[in-house]
């Protein structure tokens, strides 16, 4: 229906009409909760500001890894940085207190400790509470990013019963720690009083100081990324539904599935180039401050991650996928096909991951963008690989829920072959190959929406729609696996677009390093770790199926540790051109 009444003018006259009238535009009396972005829950304050004063008398800043540090800048600036000591008006530290820890702290803050803290850069080195100790360093000896330390701080418990001990270290210009650490102990601040009021240590404006001024410039400049939640920064382009293929797929999948910068300056079709990886890289191509004042109203509405024009058309439904005939058929598919498939994909993707060159080692002079592109590609494929491991777990969870702990056997066996389409001829033996263009094309086919895997999980979804027969959480799991596939497809497609600008000839490309499966036993240690992973997962799934969460967690912790080692060994081997021979057919 066209909307004939839109042309007719109406003006509210009495009080009820005026109170509820939907005004055109955005006049001064628009309600806050109906404004485009005038009111957004969570913008009242920045919760991170609470934790800056988690320790009585001290104020910290969470400092991130610098993006483009100057060569002579101080090293190791990331972490929880002590900004200043502020004990005078701290309600936790009354001057006349006779509580032991308060007296000790006040003595420190006015004595030798204060003198030491007054000089140099001081950071949290570690935090202890009860039996737990959190180090502010990674295993490789580099400091942890301040935002991560902040998350650790958030996990501390408040209260006198569980005091927190912090170790403070002074970092010299070169990042080294030469002086002795300072240890301080106190309860973590209770951020709100019993009356629900913020602790008096916080100064007026302190809890909002990191927020932005919510108006059009912030569409561009908001540094804390609150806005992307309702004003996305990367989007997909509008697609012309009339040009869709008979299958319902879009005629130009690459254009339809390329992420664009929402704020791109060139809004014509020629401007549809992919968004770059970082905010800084996209900046030159975004509308500037003057333009945003004029153009913010033209920024398109984004629905389901896609820009929309005048009309929003819901995506066409997938072709009909029916349920499995019964519970047993679904269990058979999950156990014999889907779970083994997830594991084999994990391994193929991992092998391909190791074939990508070390971003630090590539020829920067010849390929200036290659470092960033490799960082992206490595993260993307590792992310997909981790996603497949998650699916392996979910497939097993569906199995143990459906079969019960007495019948269930963990499925940690990789499939022998991989099917990519409805036709049985689209069945390929599993292979370990570097991430060549052919390999990437095959990965894209595997993850393609409407492909074999996608349809198999769509059948699980259709089957578990029967809520009397299947618990709701199983249905949710199947839906999540099903929708993750689309995300994997997009990541690989994007990766292909980024890597396609580099030459590939005779198996050699600037982004690849040579990799051959080991036949000389050099990868034995890595394989041993991989078997630890398999065994650990088996134990964990068995325990969880029986409801023994403590045992399951213990096994998972071992798996995590083995995987860390495995990854480090894999990187070291790959640097020497040695691939990990996951399967017997590759082993000597």
């Amino acid at each position: 229906m066209t909307e004939p009444y839109k042309k007719l003018e109406v003006a509210p006259r009495n009080l009820t009409a005026r109170a509820a009238y939907r005004a055109a535009g955005n006049p001064a009396n628009t309600r806050l909760d109906s404004g485009v972005g005038n009111c957004f829950p969570g913008l009242e304050m920045d919760v991170r500001d609470l934790d800056r004063r988690f320790f009585p008398g001290l104020v910290f800043n969470a400092v991130r890894v610098p993006l483009n540090p100057a060569p002579d800048a101080p090293k190791r600036t990331e972490g929880f940085h002590l900004v200043f000591v502020d004990y005078m008006y701290d309600p936790m530290l009354p001057a006349n207190s006779d509580v032991a820890w308060v007296r000790k702290l006040l003595a420190d803050y006015t004595g030798e400790v204060a003198d030491r803290l007054a000089e140099g850069r001081w950071f949290i080195s570690s935090i202890m509470q009860g039996e737990k100790k959190i180090s502010a360093y990674k295993r490789n000896g580099e400091p942890i990013d301040g935002m991560t330390v902040w998350r650790f701080v958030r996990s501390l418990e408040p209260g006198e019963k569980s005091p927190v001990t912090i170790a403070l270290e002074r970092r010299e210009h070169d990042g080294e720690v030469k002086e002795d650490l300072i240890y301080l102990q106190a309860p973590r601040r209770q951020y709100r009083t019993q009356d629900g009021v913020f602790d008096g240590a916080y100064q007026p404006g302190e809890l909002t100081q990191s927020l932005c001024n919510p108006w059009s410039h912030d569409f561009r400049d908001c540094g804390c990324h609150y806005w992307p939640s309702n004003h996305p920064d990367v989007v997909m382009a509008e697609v012309d539904e009339t040009e869709a293929l008979p299958t319902g797929q879009t005629a130009d999948p690459m254009a339809a599935e390329t992420y664009l910068d929402w704020l791109r300056n060139d809004r014509g079709p020629a401007g549809d180039v992919a968004a770059r990886n970082t905010v800084e890289e996209n900046r030159p191509y975004q509308i500037d401050h003057y333009q945003v004042n004029q153009m913010w109203g033209e920024l398109p509405i984004v629905v389901e991650g896609r820009e929309t024009g005048t009309f929003y058309e819901a995506a066409p439904d997938q072709s009909f996928v029916g349920p499995y005939p019964d519970r047993k058929a679904m269990i058979d598919a999950l156990g014999a096909k889907l779970a083994p498939l997830e594991l084999v994909l994990t391994m193929q993707y991992l092998y391909a991951y190791f074939s990508l060159a070390d971003p630090e080692q590539v020829d920067h002079a010849r390929w200036p963008a290659l470092k960033d592109d490799l960082i992206f590609a490595r993260r993307a494929i590792l992310g997909v690989s981790i996603g497949e491991m998650t699916h392996l777990r979910w497939a097993n969870q569906m199995l143990w829920t459906l079969q019960g702990p007495d019948v269930y056997e963990p499925v940690i066996t990789p499939a022998q072959s991989i099917r990519t389409g409805p036709d049985p001829s689209q069945n390929y033996p599993r292979t370990l190959s570097p991430l060549t263009p052919d390999t990437l094309d095959r990965f894209i086919e595997i993850e393609r929406p409407e492909g074999f895997i996608d349809r198999a999980y769509a059948r699980c979804v259709a089957t578990m729609l029967d809520r009397k027969e299947y618990p709701a959480h199983l249905y949710e799991l199947a839906v999540r696996i099903d929708t993750d596939g689309d995300e994997h497809f997009l990541r690989f497609s994007h990766m292909k677009q980024i890597l396609s600008k580099y030459p590939f000839k005779d198996g050699v490309a600037p982004y690849l390093r040579p990799l051959t499966p080991d036949t000389e036993g050099k990868a034995d240690a890595a394989m041993a770790n991989f078997h630890k992973v398999e065994a650990g997962l088996k134990a964990a799934y068995t325990a969880e199926a029986k409801g023994d969460m403590a045992a399951a967690q213990a096994s998972i912790a071992k798996v995590r540790s083995a995987m860390e080692d495995f990854r480090e060994e894999g990187e070291a081997l790959a640097a020497e051109g040695i691939g990990i021979p996951f399967w017997p057919e590759h082993q000597a």
């Binding site: 003006a11 009820t16 009409a17």
Partner: protein, 453 residues
């Protein structure tokens, strides 16, 4: 006097604006307007809208109406209010009367049962009930009716003073009102009403002989002169008491404008009219031709009132003043009044009824002050009386301004006055637009204006 009656479609069902329950279109010299029934919202609209609206299909009409406001749900749903606190009680302190008005809903004051006075313990229990759930700061109202309440003057005084004490102790406010035929008011009564800021409503059905024919003493003697003499102290003093004249319109006293002008000149704080739709003696009931004539008279009074408002003069025609304020606020009500919700009538022996008119009438019996309200009967009453359950109210654009009509009249007579009500509201809608254009400040005044009872 003959008046022109505007063609309001009273005798036909035709024009889309009148027959569509969702909207009502009306015009003034300021343009074209529309009442959206839902929420009683008034809009100024394009000249073409009325015809365009009639031409759209029901989905298009619905989309247009939905686009007018931000609410996603109707202003009034089907759910009756539950557990409302009692806010007003009317005590039938004397179920007897010294007059013999033959149309009286109380059948001469005794409600068709042996005449009697209310005893103190009933009045006291009633006040206790009224105060039971009155939180500090709340405002409650205690009304004295009959029969003729001043027949039982000592109880009126004692109950008033007791209620004042209770209210003071609880930190809430109690207002008092009394509906009297005026024949028994004394100087002391006037002082008492002033002291306690009574709203005094006097039933007066016309000027001189007209009144006397309708409201005579039991012996047949007229009461008008006596009443005016008795009211002198109240009207003359213009003190704290608000004195209103309430005119019950029957076929025998249709000279509304003369009556109104005369009573305004006598100094009444407000004057209001109500048609007699359901009388024990059907000869005094208003039928369609009478209502047609009454509408013309009401519109004539309304025009005089409008002229006075525009000129900044006082002309306390309560029907008009109340209608203008309700239209301005967009009053939308699922019931015509608070009967059975926050307001109840109490009979001489303590029976609680939906309102003062239902006293001794089983159709409106809801409990007793001694035992409390019967929740089943009360909930049933509110469920049954909701305007969404009324026919033909659901097909009427005025349903939320009217609320379905007086329960007592509807139950005992039906709805003969719908066209009269719509005609009167249509006139008031136009007057509202005209006054809001010329005197927007009129609606900015505090809502201290007298309300129609």
């Amino acid at each position: 006097m003959t008046l022109d009656v505007p063609d309001l479609g009273l005798d036909r069902r035709g024009p889309p604006g009148l027959s569509d329950p969702r909207v009502h279109f009306f015009d003034t010299e300021h343009g074209h307007h529309m009442l959206a029934t839902d929420g009683s919202r008034i809009f100024d609209v394009d000249p073409g809208l009325r015809d365009a609206f009639a031409g759209w299909d029901i989905a298009e009409q619905g989309a247009f109406l939905a686009g007018l406001g931000m609410r996603k749900v109707p202003y009034i749903d089907d759910v009756p209010p539950a557990d409302m606190p009692i806010r007003a009680l009317s005590l039938a302190v004397a179920q007897k009367c010294n007059l013999a008005c033959t149309y009286c809903y109380a059948s001469g004051g005794d409600f068709g049962v042996p005449a009697r006075n209310m005893e103190w313990d009933v009045a006291k229990t009633s006040v206790d009930r009224l105060m039971e759930k009155a939180e500090p700061g709340a405002r409650v109202n205690l009304a004295f009716m009959g029969g003729e309440p001043l027949v039982n003057r000592p109880l009126v005084r004692r109950a008033t003073e007791y209620a004042r004490e209770c209210a003071a102790a609880q930190g809430c406010t109690v207002g008092f009102s009394i509906t009297t035929n005026g024949t028994l008011v004394t100087d002391e009564d006037a002082d008492f009403f002033n002291d306690h800021r009574f709203a005094v409503t006097v039933s007066l059905d016309g000027v001189g002989p007209t009144h006397d024919r309708l409201r005579s003493y039991r012996g047949g003697r007229g009461s008008f002169e006596t009443i005016l003499k008795r009211l002198e102290p109240l009207l003359g003093r213009m003190g704290q008491a608000q004195v209103s004249a309430r005119v019950t319109v029957t076929p025998a006293n249709l000279e509304l404008r003369e009556t109104l002008d005369h009573f305004v000149s006598l100094g009444f704080h407000s004057v209001g009219f109500a048609p007699m739709l359901s009388a024990p003696d059907a000869r005094h009931q208003m039928d369609l031709p009478h209502l047609h004539e009454m509408l013309a008279q009401m519109i004539d009074c309304g025009k005089a009132c409008e002229a006075a408002i525009l000129a900044g003069r006082s002309y306390p025609f309560s029907n008009m003043e109340a209608a203008l304020m309700e239209i301005h606020r967009g009053t939308h009500r699922p019931y015509p009044c608070g009967a059975g919700a926050g307001y109840f009538g109490v009979s001489a022996d303590g029976g609680v009824f939906a309102c003062h008119r239902f006293v001794e009438d089983d159709a409106g019996a809801i409990g007793s002050v001694q035992q409390g309200l019967d929740p089943v009967r009360r909930d049933g009453w509110l469920a049954d009386r909701h305007v969404h359950k009324q026919t033909p109210c659901q097909s009427c654009w005025a349903q939320y301004l009217c609320g379905g009509g007086c329960h007592h009249e509807v139950i005992h007579r039906g709805r003969p006055a719908c066209d009269y009500i719509r005609g009167w509201l249509d006139h008031c809608l136009g007057a509202y637009v005209r006054i809001s254009e010329a005197r927007p400040d009129y609606f900015e005044q505090p809502s201290a204006r007298p309300q129609a009872s």
